[in-house]
Subunit: 340 residues, 2 copies
Amino acid sequence: MLNEKATIYDIASDAGVSIATVSRVLRGETNVSAATREKVQRAIDRRNYRPSVIARGLTGKTTHSLGIILPKLLNPHYAMIFTGAQEEASARGFALSLFPRSSLDTDAYNPATMLAERRLDGVIVCVEYLPADHDHKVLAALEELKRFMPVVLIGCVPPWYDFPAICNNNAAMTKEIVSYLVSLGHERIALVGGIEGDTDPFRRDIGYMEGLREARLPFTDSYRVWGGGTPESGLAGLNGILNNLKPSFWPTAVIALNDLVAMGCYSAAVSHGLTLPRDLSVIGCDNMVAAPYLSPPLTTVDLHQRETGARAVKMLLGEESGRVDAPWDLIERGSCAACR
Amino acid sequence: MLNEKATIYDIASDAGVSIATVSRVLRGETNVSAATREKVQRAIDRRNYRPSVIARGLTGKTTHSLGIILPKLLNPHYAMIFTGAQEEASARGFALSLFPRSSLDTDAYNPATMLAERRLDGVIVCVEYLPADHDHKVLAALEELKRFMPVVLIGCVPPWYDFPAICNNNAAMTKEIVSYLVSLGHERIALVGGIEGDTDPFRRDIGYMEGLREARLPFTDSYRVWGGGTPESGLAGLNGILNNLKPSFWPTAVIALNDLVAMGCYSAAVSHGLTLPRDLSVIGCDNMVAAPYLSPPLTTVDLHQRETGARAVKMLLGEESGRVDAPWDLIERGSCAACR
DNA sequence: CTGAAAGCGCTTACAG
DNA sequence: CTGAAAGCGCTTACAG
């Protein structure tokens, strides 16, 4: 209780030993006599002493600090990844700091500066979409980052990105979704969301096309609308489809980019007098906490984001390596029904 | 491009000056000749040098690192606070790390250890509810933390907590909500959520009672159910009310602890055959991004969490002090209607 | 089992 | 305007 600014010198002098000895008991080394350890520990307790991670970071090879970069926490997908990563990091005594997406913006003064300055032990980067013209910029920024610290990627990672990564194969996933809807009897299936010009080979529209082809269904351009990951964009996307088509051509099922987009689709459907899932089936992606509580409860795909976040930390710490695929599970709830 | 592990010594020798001079240009001091500055800058650029925040932290009085403790990121309320805090911190060159709620758990080995060890420049703590028997433990943990670094609290902070804080006066807010519902003609108003035994004087049920009293409405115990901040708890809460009462006694309006709880109430209402808002008005709290996209769009209270997060950072950095109140705004959407 | 010394990469007076 | 030196709080060989 005496002094929270105590240093290793204070403890050493209190205990009547050298700082090297204090350091030993601090790090739990075994070559210290019980009596000495005892004395030192008492001094530590008495002064409420906490060794400085900062000083340790200067000396040692690790700062026990990790970083994470993601588009936005307001998207439950990323909040879940972050949560998983944070828990894993904290369990191992590592701090996890969030850095803004702009840390990767090569237009800024110096992209990786904030991260590099901190000598992080590693950083997790959640890559979002990759419009062709941005791809090389993002890649350059990542390469720059990598020169300073280990980098692990999460998301839809193109094969030409040479990084350890946990990959979402959205193409394969979307193909599975299409065949699920087809098995329900749907033949007019829309896809809402995705970035036009995205060069990622695992992107949703690839799997969408494949799924249609496999089911020998035609590709109807009006059923595929681009857009971001917000409810706004889901609303605008589905509204666009419904407004531009005679009702007899309306899709009977829509695949939303994520659960937030699915919520926007719900709104659009309702405002067009449609009843879900009777008139329209909707399937989301992410399995956010609120998904079961929508009306109807949202059928979606669980991406196990928490595990992914934790796993990324382990990869950063060298316990696993390479490029692995993230698992996914289709969760059936009430928003998809057999086509009438 | 040469070497990312360069130190100030490398730059000094490259530029043919002393490390003190390099340090001066690094920190933007003015007492350096243009020619020298030039030379040094070139050396810095050539080696892609980034000064170590770690080393700076050892020397200086600041580590440029902040922390935040919150219950869970999956609750959009906290995600918004975090986002605001992160943006503000990052704009000032500070890193923001998330620490788990358990950092405050005095049952653990040593509560503030992880934070104290890092010599943070300050920490934001989002206090949640305070059951009487936990109050003293939380307070003790906070006091302990405070001995190591500045602490700013966000949330429903009791007056006897002697900390700088941004306070949510949930009592006043709930009272306002009650009178809003009363103005819509409602007389049977339920309150779903809140912790029984919470000693916080600004808690919701206080304002709920006051609002009822002011409107000369009776307090009906069956209309007040306790519960946490999840959809599950909203579902269970409203289900409990509806199941235990004859329909003629069902409430016509419900005040939910937050938007997630409101979603659970939607589910409960629907499963009882109720149509919103015709048969039941529901009001939430937090104004999460998805709120406008529920059916019906959720009437709720905007808490300006992003601004609150940013403000907390400013308080930590000494730009503001004391105990201030967080603003709130009732946002009317479609989930509350005049009582029939 | 324990201690003296050097070193980690910076900043900060202090001289000049 | 610039440099030599001490110091920040630790860890890590190296002796003993």
